[in-house]
Subunit: 302 residues, 2 copies
DNA sequence: ACTGTTTACGGAGACCGTAAGTATC
DNA sequence: GATACTTACGGTCTCCGTAAACAGT
């Protein structure tokens, strides 16, 4: 028997938060349970217990959707779990051998810089095994946090010299590599396509093809109604949507060749640039430090 | 029987982190256990389990002191637990009645501003119950995170217009209220005490009375050797240490009267000011919003 | 009726307390 | 030898799986 003590209050545990987030993301107890390796009954019990602990309903059922409180908790839980991942990873990084370098790259994140830097690195250490994977920015953040990869080249749209803010500030180390101007990709024949430059205001009535997984727009004002959303991260597909007239797209000036049916027009907006940065743990191994240096050198040279 | 699944890896739970942090802070399994309401044996087992989970030793014993890895984990754990507190508090804040306002104040945090703002607030709502408590900045952060108080007036030394950074950025809402210049408190008769102003370089050989709980210096360069440390948060005691010649102290220009045996000399350093800001949850109740407004008005007026 | 969540129940295991063991000062 | 942490062991409770009940569509 347990004597009366203080600790009856706090019972929110990481496992519960993981389950809750999985349900929120999946929109279903059943598939969340599959992802987590539980039975759906177990997940139901976990959510019930969590709701009891916080004393309020977190999810609406049928359809499964977070309540106001649940949405708020989900946001916090995301950050908490990410930090837990980072904590574990920083410990593992202490005895990282460093014979294998794994890097995530976003599609538009200055691929030339990475290639050149890797050539330098492999020149110094010919036995080095390197794995490069293409992902989107949010997956990359999570991969770095979990130490699934050692570093990630991520990109996004932001103000000049300001970080992309893909994770909580201070959680990961980020190094600016390249900033390039933006262009708007129009379908050929678009009335604005023949201009030498466009302002954002001109696009107020033009629809965008928004691609949240592909290129995060950060604080960029996404004017224009009826957006078509593209969930993948393949540039050719995105551009084909543009070419088909579903809307225009905001892209970096470099890193991609203009295909048929697309015209590119510079965006005249001094406060928006496309930025590529390197994400690593804040306690990088010597190998990652060398990669960072090589990338910085390459970026400065290019 | 449980089929093979993925989730055997992750077993770090919040309870473990709490126990670990308690031990690190207490420097002892026994007192940590008392604080937590466990037996010391239980804490020992929790730490052992945590060390097994992360696969490395986190604490040295006799004396009890974190290892390199343990120190790193402790830092992360602090942030994690703080965010967990915030998550819980933001949920509780959803149904906050708002008939009782609880505020933490640091000793040097512009007390006049709070008094005036409270007068305004109680003028509008005469039935409002108000509780004010004096604390140090770190306690205040934790209290806001746990919703033990609704708001906290904290202070510290920082560069002009830069936040105090007492917690992770974005974790809490902070509002700048007052920034005042700094003065150095010397013991009467100190060679520098008769000057009209001093630079930090002049103090390179002068010892400080450092008071980490009292006035966090942030990035202020604390030159000078042989510092005497004061752990409390009472201004009179601190100044008596200064008057007794144990060192000088860096203080805001206002908020305190000069006692016998002390001379104050302005610090000539444009990049350092004393700043008072208000800390609240990012989802404040209407009552807290009104307090914020009142404080902002008062601060602007004064 | 079927899909998907909740509830009931039972067993395995986690977790903590008691108490004995061990190491360090 | 005393203090403080570790280990052994047993009881209780948590937690998950099975299965049945229940609720929306």
């Amino acid at each position: 028997m347990r004597d009366a003590n203080i600790r009856d209050t706090d019972a929110v545990e990481i496992r519960d938060l993981r389950a809750f987030l999985a349900v929120v993301r999946a929109g279903s107890f059943t598939v969340a349970a599959q992802e987590l390796g539980y039975t759906q009954s177990a997940v139901s019990q976990q959510i019930a217990s969590l709701e009891k602990e916080v004393g309020r309903r977190l999810l609406d059922r049928r359809p499964v959707r977070p309540t106001i409180a649940g949405a708020r908790l989900a946001e916090q839980a995301t950050r908490i779990l990410l930090r837990v991942d980072v904590a574990r990873s920083e410990l593992s990084a202490l005895d990282d051998g460093g014979s294998h370098l794994r890097v995530d790259v976003c599609a538009l994140a200055a691929p030339g810089v990475l290639s050149a830097a890797l050539r330098d690195l492999r020149g110094e250490r010919p036995t080095l095994k390197v794995t490069v994977r293409s992902t989107d920015a949010l997956t990359a953040v999570s991969a770095v946090a979990r130490a699934t990869v050692d570093a990630a080249l991520v990109d996004g749209i932001t103000a000049p010299d300001s970080p992309l803010a893909l994770a909580d500030p201070g959680l990961l180390a980020s190094t600016a590599l390249v900033e390039v101007p933006l262009v708007v990709a129009f379908p050929a024949g678009h009335p604005l396509g023949s201009r030498s430059g466009v302002d954002l205001e001109m696009l107020d009535d033009a629809p965008w093809v928004v691609a949240p997984n592909f290129l995060r727009t950060g604080a960029a004002p996404m004017a224009g109604a009826r957006p078509v959303s593209y969930e993948g991260n393949d540039l050719a597909t995105l551009l084909s949507l543009v070419a088909a007239g579903h809307g225009s797209a905001l892209l970096p000036d470099s890193s991609w060749a203009t295909p048929e049916g697309i015209v590119r027009v510079p965006l005249r907006h001094p406060q928006l640039v496309h930025r590529t940065e390197l994400l690593t743990l804040r306690t990088p191994s010597q190998l990652v430090t060398r990669l960072t240096d090589a990338l910085r050198r390459t970026a400065a040279a290019g």
